[in-house]
């Protein structure tokens, strides 16, 4: 009962949150840049052209009217029309978003599947050679610029060895081509978030292993494997799950770099291109769309969190 209320509360907060994000984006991408018509017109365009553009974009209306129009139309599912593509923004976004989700999710899965065991091993064998090795790896993982890893990956696996294609999406992920295309960008993306997950799993596991209930479990005569898997891991994963949610956002940000480098037709590259081309409706739409996805993912993570931790207070 209380859990349902909590979920409802979380769902209800999404509406004002989206509204506030919209407001922020409106301020940032409509008010601050000033006269968008001047910005997107060719440098020496005659005043009449700019005037016509302004008319077409509805920029001559007072800001407050534009604001209300923007906010309400978004809730109707209308994100405006792209300057450049001359198409409704929402139409452009859908396919791109799916491509990005695919890339980010595969990356995240790699990071989780590899990261949690590595973190657990490091914690169990604390201060051993394994632990040192893993910790050093983590330190490099969080310090290396993503584009460096990616360029080196392209250089080695793509250009020198030629094992994998290094640009474009190769179709759906379940096809061989699709898999071959996604493997390098997803691995690169995973590597930066892997470090965070390993580090957190390790420290969280170390905390849990020093708890009294682990002692209780051992005192029952349970095998060490059972103690670790049944008693420790479930507790240790609670903070890790929260961080996975936040890391999703981190990956969604960094996927811009990945998509640009690997020429991946996702929403990150779209955002980047729309910024370069000053396609403000498209920028607004893409950023809002990414924010929405991130909000939803965080909500899902919170729900998983509820399942994991029976102690949770739903306030």
């Amino acid at each position: 009962m209380r859990m349902k209320k909590y979920i409802l509360k979380r769902l209800l907060w999404i509406v004002p949150l989206i509204f506030l994000v919209q407001t922020l984006l409106f301020l940032l991408l409509t008010v601050i840049p000033g006269d968008i018509a001047v910005l997107i017109a060719t440098p020496n365009a005659p005043p009449e052209t700019i005037e016509a553009l302004r008319e077409e974009l509805g920029l001559e209306r007072p800001l407050i009217v534009q604001y209300i129009d923007y906010v309400t139309s978004v809730f109707r599912g209308d994100l405006g029309k792209s300057f450049i593509f001359r198409l409704p923004v929402s139409e452009i976004l859908v396919g791109r978003l799916i491509n990005s989700l695919e890339l980010v999710t595969v990356g995240m899965m790699i990071a989780v599947v590899a990261g949690i065991p590595l973190g657990v091993i490091a914690a169990i064998k604390r201060d051993s050679l394994y632990d040192r090795f893993i910790c050093t790896g983590v330190l490099f993982g969080i310090s290396v610029p993503l584009f460096f890893i990616e360029l080196m990956t392209i250089l080695i696996f793509g250009l020198y060895l030629g094992w994998f294609p290094v640009s474009q999406r190769g179709g759906p992920i379940w096809t061989v081509e699709g898999l071959r295309h996604i493997i390098l960008p997803a691995l690169c993306l995973a590597s930066i978030c892997l470090a965070m997950i390993v580090r957190l799993t390790r420290s969280s596991m170390l905390d849990v292993l020093s708890e009294d209930y682990i002692l209780t479990a051992r005192s029952k005569g349970l095998k060490e494997r059972v103690v670790i898997v049944t008693h420790a891991l479930k507790n240790a994963l609670i903070p890790v799950v929260t961080v996975i949610g936040l890391q999703y956002g981190f990956l969604f940000g960094n996927t811009v770099v990945t998509e640009v480098i690997f020429d991946w037709p996702g929403i990150g590259r779209l955002t980047y291109e729309s910024i370069i081309m000053r396609d403000f409706p498209l920028i607004r739409g893409a950023v809002l769309c990414i924010a929405l996805v991130f909000i939803v993912i965080n909500l899902l993570v919170d729900l998983i969190y509820l399942r994991l931790d029976p102690r949770i207070e739903y306030d």
């Binding site: 490099f140 310090s143 610029p145 993503l146 460096f148 360029l151 956002g249 811009v256 770099v257 950023v287």
Partner: protein, 278 residues
Amino acid sequence: MQKREILDFFTKNRSMSVGISILLIYLIAAIFAPLLSPHDPYEQNLDVRLSGPSREYPFGTDQFGRCVFSRILYGARISITIGIAAVLFGLIIGSGLGIIAGYRGGLTDLVLMRLMDVLMSIPALILALAVVAALGRSIPNMILAIGINALPLFARLSRSSVLSIRTMEYIEASEAIGTNSFNIIRYHVFKNCFSPLLIFSTLHTASAILMAAALSFLGLGVPPPTAEWGLMTAEARVYLRQAPYLVIFPSMVILVLVLGFNLIGDRLRDMLDPKLRF
């Protein structure tokens, strides 16, 4: 501290000393760049385009024949400035808001933290891109774009430290004496928030530098021909096969600087506040 003690400290904290040495080297490079660099970082010499490392050009030359080593030295100024300034921005404004929210509680807390939620609900790099898209490319705008992302993090951290400090009995003891809120914050809260904020600032400087590099790499940071590491890497991308060193040198330089901050931050955390987790 005595000389002996300082020496002792550094021999016992190897990772910390490595980190500090890295920072010192970068600082020296940044401050004395004009003295240390063998060439003018912006001087083009098309005769020696894309030539590998040599005695004359320690890190080789780029597509315009500019000395990569000199450009890297000058680049240190930009990266360090952006990293530190962005974190200071987040630290001062963010932790200020966090302390107010945590100490006042109630509606103030609710409103401030919900606003921070809004900033948090856009992935960091995307928000930075949006800010740059709105304001245009320049160093101050980059600082702002990266600093805004740090705001909610610092606000949350300082708020939670304040909340945990507030429950401590020494705050209650101080209230029992009749000390007013202002003095309690000044004497007790600040002092005890300090170490988590210091640790987090150091670690976050590392991410700020990485983010600045990513922005520049995307061509949305500083405008060319500025000698900036991310931008240099981006420009070298086309020559990846011919001249991989053009990518490797500036990237490695970023890696080592970020590593330095992370080493210091990690060690600080172990020493001051082993329970903290970022």
